[in-house]
Structures are given as C-alpha cells and as structure tokens.
C-alpha cells in the first residue's frame, strides 16, 4: 500500500481517530492512552501500530516507556494530495467557464 493510502486507511477507523484526537492534547504514555477504551491492551497496541506505520503517530522516550504523539509530517502526503486536486479543478473549471459560454452562445445563435 502506498503511503497516502496507508494514511487514509489508518484514518478510516473511528478508534484510531479517537486515539489521534486524544493525542492532540499532547504526548501520552500507553497507559494514559489505553485508559478510556474498553478494548484489550493488545487491541490498542494494534491500532497504535497502524497509526505509526502510516506515519501519523510517532514514539519518543525510552523503549520500555514510550510516549506517543501526533506526527504532523504524516499529514503532509494527504494534504499535498488535496492541494494537487484543488489545483487541477481550479484550472479545469476556469477552462469550463470559457467553454460553457462558447457552447451557450452557439446554441443561442442557432435557435
């Protein structure tokens, strides 16, 4: 899976979005992160791994006691994708404006 698709797949899950939302308050330990959820610890670990692999969450601190945080860089690819699409549509729609007027004028003239 390419990076962009990993990012959007990671974001598609409500639990992972909730974890990301929690982390926007600042870095958290695993215990702090897992506390609000009723799911098992391995399940939380799995979600964190998906977020890490997608580059949306990073880990700091000692290996045994890591602290998790949002990694803003992970959002660069999705954001760039949106910007590219935005440019595409802006230019295409400008061309469409001209073309639509041309077509309408032709129709108007021939009726």
């Amino acid at each position: 899976m390419d990076r962009l698709s990993s990012a959007y797949s990671a974001l598609a899950d409500p639990t992972r979005r909730a974890i990301l939302a929690d982390l926007t308050g600042g870095p958290k330990s695993f215990t702090e992160l897992a506390a609000p959820y009723e799911m098992s610890k391995p399940a939380v670990v799995k979600h964190l791994r998906v977020l890490e692999n997608a580059g949306l969450v990073a880990r700091d601190g000692a290996k045994a006691r890591p602290r998790y945080r949002v990694d803003p860089k992970g959002f660069d690819d999705p954001r760039r994708w949106i910007e590219e699409q935005a440019r595409f549509w802006a230019e295409a729609l400008d061309r469409l404006d001209a073309y639509a007027n041309e077509i309408a004028t032709q129709k108007g003239g021939s009726s």
């Binding site: 990671a10 598609a12 949106i82 699409q85 802006a90 295409a92 404006d97 007027n101």
Partner: protein, 163 residues
C-alpha cells in the same frame, strides 16, 4: 435569441487548504443545470475543457450509468500522458453525479482512490455547481461506501492548523 449572457459569473472558490480529507468548491453559471450536467458527463464536451491549462484531452470515455466506467487520457504541455479513471456511483441528471477517481500509473495500476460528487442547483440566473473531491481509505474505496467517516476528522484538522 435565447438571451444567454456572454459572461459566466464565477464565485471564487472556497478552498479548504488545511483539510486533509476533502476539497470543496462551488461556482455559479449563467446556464441551466441541464447544459452544465452534459458538459461534465459527455465525452465530446469533457474533451474540450477537462484538465489543467495547456493540457489536451486525447481520449474521453464515459459509460454514464451507475456502475459504468469513465476514463480520460490527457497530455500535458511537456508531452507527458496523464490518465484518470473511475466508476459512476450515482447518475441523476441534471442534479447530481458521483464517481470514483484514480490516477493510473505507467504500468496501468491505479493510485489512491477518491470520490467526486458534483451537484447542480437551479438559481435565478442559471445554476450553482458544487464539487466535492474526497478521499477514501482503500477498503472503503473497494466497498464503495464510507460517506461520513471523514466528518470526525475535523478536530484533527483543527489541531494540525495550530502546529
């Protein structure tokens, strides 16, 4: 004469630059939705405007029905070919058309799948077109659903803006 104004009013686009989930824009046209719907969906018309400035459309095909495929091949001013393809999810002329969207790479494999919704609403002077180009996660793209998952990303978007 049908009295069609020569100029189309363009309401400037409302680009959500920091949003990671979707691009939205709208424009007002001095033409009826019926005409604009055709310009967005018929190959002979798409071939005349689709793509950024300087691009030419070499091939445009639309099988305009739910589940039907569309594909457009463009050439950039530099001479590179760009191919984009997808499947119609909803075809409701002249009100709404929804289709998936993926860029095709050199080897024919598809890139990230997204969804485009184009809607037309009649106005006194013609119509207003609203365009939404949203991202889908891979599994959702395959399943063809997933409207709504993007909505709870708002808090994350807001947070990212503060960084």
């Amino acid at each position: 004469m049908t009295g069609v104004p020569e100029k189309t009013t363009v309401q400037e686009t409302d680009v959500q630059e920091t949003d990671v989930k979707a691009f939205e824009t709208s424009r007002d046209y001095a033409h009826p939705p019926e005409l604009m719907f055709r310009l967005f969906t018929e190959p002979e018309h798409l071939a005349r405007w689709f793509g950024p400035v300087g691009f030419t459309v070499e091939e445009a095909r639309t099988n305009l029905k739910t589940g039907g495929a569309w594909r457009i091949v463009m050439r950039s001013p530099e001479g590179n070919q760009h191919r984009v393809t997808g499947v119609y999810e909803e075809v409701s002329p002249p009100v709404r058309v929804v289709f998936s969207w993926a860029w095709e790479s050199e080897d024919g494999s598809l890139g990230h799948v997204s969804r485009v919704t184009i809607a037309f609403a009649s106005t006194d002077s013609g119509c207003r077109m609203s365009l939404r180009h949203e991202n889908l996660a891979d599994d959702e793209a395959r399943a063809g659903h997933g409207r709504g998952w993007t909505s709870s990303l708002e808090s994350i978007d807001a947070y990212l803006e503060t960084l």
